[in-house]
């Protein structure tokens, strides 16, 4: 009982000293943390705080405002060029829009008429109105047509030459979404003679017409391309690139010590950010459960791997080589026990009897066959069991054995075929 008191002393020592103990978090730690928190907050939507959403909204707002301002002024700055030569006269794209109703009225050619719905559709997109006509024109779709002039003869009344300026800027990414790190090859429909300015949404910029880019942080990025042609006319386009987070595959192995389930291995999934799983148990068996348990036919070398997939199909994998080393197989016996004085319990132990140490039984794993014999000092066999689940309750033929030392011997084998021969003694205690 003195031990008990001392333990209480130890416990209260730790409790009293440490439970409410305060340390000083240094100012550098505070700084480091606030910075980290600030970064996290920055990517989180919060109307009352400056963050990435504000920047995005502001950028979008500015862009719309800019486009609205630009379109009428450019219209004025670029008056309709008078006809000079049927093959050389060019009209800026915007002008086509102002002419569009007239053209529509004049147009009798069914091919031309067909093109108008496309034009009005594009017209809603903002300032890039006119080009749509050019772009959807079957003759001008080819980017190489840019710079050349195509004369359209409208019923002989007027000869309009339209320059396919390719002002309908469009971004051509190799992919628009994917798992981090995401490699995107950005291209656009502009040829030489244009200068490009890319804003890649995560702070990156580029001035190449086409280029490669890597997104290394998950997120939704708005990519903006601004094209300027030789006549300093500007056109922009945006594209959304979605970069998905990868899950993290992780698991832990638990071998259940409960009797009767010795060899069932519990795989505890600790993956994060994943919704689907693929387990490879290393013996040719697979599972798609989140937390599978598996009974191996035999112990041995198994390389277990887990692949975790996120909702977007991003994957991460983890492999544990040689999952069960020999420490997965053991058999250990206590050296004393205190039988229940109320009568024989049959030796099948449970949480409660085990807690009170009423049954003599081993802690075992990976045991295939097993035979336990217990002898009294005089050599009398007092107990025998062929199953680990049944230990000795301290009784022999219904009578409690006398306190003292008993000798035990175990024969058997582990699942890998290794044989077990163990012997020892155990003290039966009886208060």
């Amino acid at each position: 009982m003195r031990d008990e008191e001392r333990d209480n002393g130890l416990e209260s020592l730790f409790r009293n000293k440490l439970e409410e103990n305060e340390m000083v978090a240094g100012s550098d730690l505070t700084g480091r943390f606030m910075e980290r928190l600030g970064r996290r907050e920055f990517f989180r939507f919060n109307p009352s705080r400056f963050n990435i959403w504000y920047i995005t909204a502001a950028a979008a707002g500015l862009m719309v405002a800019g486009l609205l301002l630009l379109s009428p002024s450019r219209g004025e700055a670029e008056p309709v060029t008078p006809l000079q030569d049927t093959s050389q006269v060019s009209v800026p794209g915007e002008e086509v829009v102002t002419e569009a109703p007239a053209l529509q009225a004049i147009a009798t050619d069914p091919v031309t008429l067909q093109e108008y719905p496309a034009a009005s559709e594009a017209g809603e997109a903002g300032s890039v109105k006119g080009q749509a006509i050019v772009r959807h024109d079957p003759i001008a779709t080819d980017a190489k047509a840019q710079g050349e002039t195509i004369a359209l003869n409208r019923g002989g009344t007027a000869k309009l030459a339209v320059t396919p300026l390719l002002f309908n800027t469009s971004i051509e990414p190799s992919v628009t979404s994917g798992c981090v790190p995401l490699h995107v090859r950005f291209g656009c429909n502009a040829g030489d003679g244009y200068s490009a300015s890319w804003s890649l949404g995560d702070g990156g910029i580029s001035s190449e017409i086409s280029h490669d880019y890597i997104y290394d942080i998950p997120g939704i990025y708005r990519v903006t391309l601004t094209l300027t042609d030789e006549r300093r006319r500007v056109s922009t386009a945006t594209e959304i690139i979605e970069v998905w987070d990868n899950p993290r595959a992780d698991f832990e192995v638990r071998q259940n010590d409960q009797p009767g389930e010795n060899d069932k291995v519990l795989f505890v999934n600790l993956s994060t950010g994943a919704v689907n799983y693929l387990w490879d148990f290393g013996d040719g068996t697979f599972s798609t459960l989140a937390d599978p348990s598996y009974r191996y036919e035999r112990m041995g070398r198994y390389d277990v791997s887990l692949v975790a997939y996120s909702v977007n199909g991003c994957a991460d994998s983890v492999t544990v080589n040689d999952l069960f080393t020999d420490k997965g197989m053991y058999l250990r016996f206590p050296n004393a026990f205190v039988p229940n004085r109320g009568g024989p319990t049959g030796g099948y132990y449970n949480q409660q009897t085990d807690e009170e140490n009423q049954v003599f039984h081993p802690v075992a794993s990976g045991v295939d066959s097993y035979n336990l014999k217990i002898y009294s000092k005089s050599g009398l066999l007092v107990f025998e069991s062929d199953e680990i689940a049944m230990g000795w309750d301290g009784y022999n033929k219904g009578r409690l054995c006398s306190p003292g030392v008993y000798v035990w011997k175990v024969r058997g084998s582990y699942r890998n075929g290794q044989s077990i021969i163990m012997a020892g003694d155990v003290t039966l205690i009886n208060y």
Partner: protein, 184 residues
């Protein structure tokens, strides 16, 4: 000075000022908690940051009933448990060394004799598993059954690790007392 409720409300709105206040008020206490679970000070500081991230992003879950400090501590302890799982990947929990642990020593423990730093140091020298069980049982006051569930180990493992941890701690404290006795 803002009241506690003020600060909590502010933090729920992710107000930076309130977040800083909350950190200032409670980081010392929670660092003390983390120190018990960590192997060293840098690890404790990392754990603390992790815990505060959780606190700031889950503050909405605090019901308002019960002590706020207690809630903070629970979140921190849970962080420590997650931390333990993360850093102890693929370890087997099956090891039960002995049924009967060898317990030696005679002296009781004078509380004034040991400083908090001493106790942190002997705790840090324990293996992570023992430290978890000892902390959760002795200071957090969980039952073995609960600890077993939290750590994903057997109840008996929890018990045996606890008694082993106790034996080791006692030995270390006695050694420390010896050293201190010698040099003071």
């Amino acid at each position: 000075m803002m009241s506690e409720q003020h600060i909590i409300d502010g933090c729920i709105r992710h107000n930076r000022k309130a977040q800083e206040m909350l950190w200032k008020q409670h980081s010392g206490y929670l660092l003390g908690v983390c120190m018990r679970y960590a192997t060293d000070r840098p690890e404790a500081e990392d754990m603390l940051q992790e815990a505060f991230m959780r606190i700031f992003f889950n503050l909405g879950e605090y019901s308002g009933t019960g002590s706020f400090r207690g809630w903070l501590r629970r979140v921190t302890v849970n962080t420590a448990i997650t931390w333990y799982h993360k850093n102890l990947r693929h370890k087997h929990h099956a090891g039960i060394d002995d049924y009967v642990s060898a317990e030696t020593g005679t002296a009781g423990f004078e509380e004034d004799f040991y400083t908090a730093e001493d106790l942190y140091r002997v705790l840090a020298e324990l293996s992570p598993g023992y430290r978890m069980v000892f902390n959760l049982y002795t200071i957090e006051g969980y039952k073995h059954q609960e600890i077993a569930e939290m750590l994903g180990i057997d109840v008996n493992t929890s018990k045996s690790q606890y008694s082993r941890a106790r034996a080791i701690l006692r030995k270390k404290l006695e050694e420390l007392a010896h050293m201190k006795g010698k040099y003071t």
